[in-house]
Symmetry: C2
Subunit: 345 residues, 2 copies
């Protein structure tokens, strides 16, 4: 249930260039709309930036711009995606998400009510993920120089452990876990964009991943590397990790399989599910001895209930990811190339 837009729609039904000039209408938009939903004390103090206490000796810092098309899709919208996308990048550093900045680039003519829906969705998502939106910025570009809304979110998270969670920390014989079935986000967005209807509507998996990650850390799992599966899919993520780690990764096509509805839709669209984006799934590299404990932790969180072992790290061939296919053959995976899937996030 979205509350009524607080901007008087009879006077300001759309975003105008003056909403971005830093003057009276920018002030009205910030105070009248954004500060109704984003109510952190630092944001309301309205200075050039937020001043934050940092009692931790290490923080994670990450940025993402979101240009997804369409703005609304089954299971989410650009606002929810912008919050959880950055929250998840912080979680993948092993950090507890704490503070976010939000930068809007709005297109002149955007319906004010559309912006309000997105802002409300961001407020809800931030609450769900336990992060505070503490500073922001708004710009407006002329009609035809944008696409409704682009959002940048940049985040700060606290590191409350001593681990080095990084591709370079991956070890030979590590086991690779995947937190659930991949590809739902990619199919949901592509289907919405192309106006395709499948028998069962596939919803994006966009969700915050910090809770299961912090669960692994709290349980004392010696996590070597984490990576959320976004643009480029499972295959691209694994190739990047294998190259940085200078190790080999062997994975099983059976273990990695998508939900049948996602796999079917990918086939119709001529796409390889291994390269489809998720926005609520992650890879974890952990010592073999802790696999049972790790899977038990992941099973306790809805978002990672479908966690499974998908492969293992070996010494050679360094930098290579191989897939044991359902046909019994082996295929070497590369980064996404060729089949362009733009504006998925």
């Amino acid at each position: 249930m979205i509350p009524t837009c607080p901007i008087p729609l009879d006077r300001y039904p759309i975003v105008t260039l003056a909403h971005g000039d830093g003057g009276r209408l920018t002030h009205q938009l910030v105070q009248g709309m954004f500060q109704r939903v984003f109510t952190d004390r630092e944001l309301l103090r309205a200075h050039d930036g937020a001043v934050l206490e940092t009692p931790w000796s290490r923080i994670a810092f990450t940025t993402d711009s979101f240009v997804v098309r369409p703005l609304f899709f089954p299971g989410g919208d650009i606002g929810r995606l912008a919050i959880h996308g950055t929250v998840n990048d912080l979680a993948m550093c092993g950090a507890r998400p704490r503070h976010l900045s939000v930068g809007f680039i709005l297109e002149e003519g955007l319906a004010m009510e559309t912006l309000w829906r997105i802002v409300c969705s961001m407020g809800e998502a931030a609450e769900e993920a336990g992060v505070a939106i503490v500073t922001g910025d708004t710009k407006v570009v002329e009609r035809g120089k944008g696409d409704g809304v682009y959002v940048n979110t940049t985040g700060i998270g606290s590191l409350e452990h001593e681990l080095e969670i990084h591709p370079a920390t991956v070890q030979r014989d590590d086991v690779v876990l995947l937190s659930g079935d991949p590809g739902r986000h990619g199919i949901a967005v592509l289907a919405a964009r192309e106006g395709l209807a499948f028998e069962n509507e596939i919803e994006s998996d966009v969700a915050p991943l910090a809770a299961p990650v912090l669960g692994l850390l709290d349980a004392g799992i010696d996590v070597h590397c984490l990576r959320d599966v976004t643009r480029g899919g499972v295959a691209t993520a694994l190739v990047e990790i294998a190259e940085t780690a200078k190790l080999a990764i062997a994975i099983s096509e059976v273990a990695i399989s998508s939900d049948p509805a996602v796999a079917g839709a990918a086939e119709v669209l001529g796409l390889d599910p291994l390269y489809l984006a998720s926005e609520g799934r992650f890879l974890a590299f952990i010592p073999a001895a802790q696999v049972g404990d790790a899977l038990a932790v992941l099973a306790r969180h809805d978002v990672s209930r479908g966690a499974r072992t998908i492969g293992r790290v070996a010494a050679t061939p360094a930098g290579e990811v191989s897939l044991d296919t359902t046909l019994g053959t082996t295929r070497v995976l590369d980064r996404l190339a060729g089949a362009t899937l733009p504006r998925i996030c």
Copy 2:
């Protein structure tokens, strides 16, 4: 002197959608171009985010998206503006700029060499300001859905003092300093956009402001509030501060005057210089007893050599900014409204 673009221009003369899909070409752009110029260790580690040491108990955190048109203008370009704009917002919190994130939204068809010039400019500006670019993101949108390049920069700075530098800290009888003549950036961008040629080309004042600010703090000046003069100009900045402080500010038109070339250009364009943007000027609110010391500090830095006293804070009428004009009359100032000056930053 800009070095040769490291991307082979015969093969990739322009940015394509595939440069933003997270696959092979994104990787090539990040590794082949961005990491040639942005060489901080954390950025090169290529993880989902940067991990940073934070030995300070307080940090400042601020974000800005840049959509300036045209991308290049006398005295600067979108890259230099994006670095110094965020560096300056950190400085206005009284922080030493430390770390920046960079998020690009590129338009399909952008000349690769244009991107390279902007990236080189950002690298130079970051070095000049003493900040490290530690994490980034790149997205590409279709032709006609952007305008070449939009850049978001988000920054972290360290607070190494106990002051509360904020509009709410402004005191009755504080003196208002302005660090130099205002409005050069606004005129430079508008002239470049409209193809206007003035007898003497006016250059943007875009420059990093942390050095004079840290100079004031090091000298023990009890700085109450700082504000850089960007969108909305001196007038809008003062109105926002007066309203937050619930105090009155009286300023003198003579003291605030722009360079004659800027004032003349503003007259030709029908603009009030009080509302023109600067990108290298700031307001400082300090106790009257420290004005001499403060001006002596500011005179030591090129960027604030033109610092002057422009006014004073009074108790009433609360929230109001009044201007003593050169005609001997008094005029109450309001936020920028009406004369829209979009995409100045």
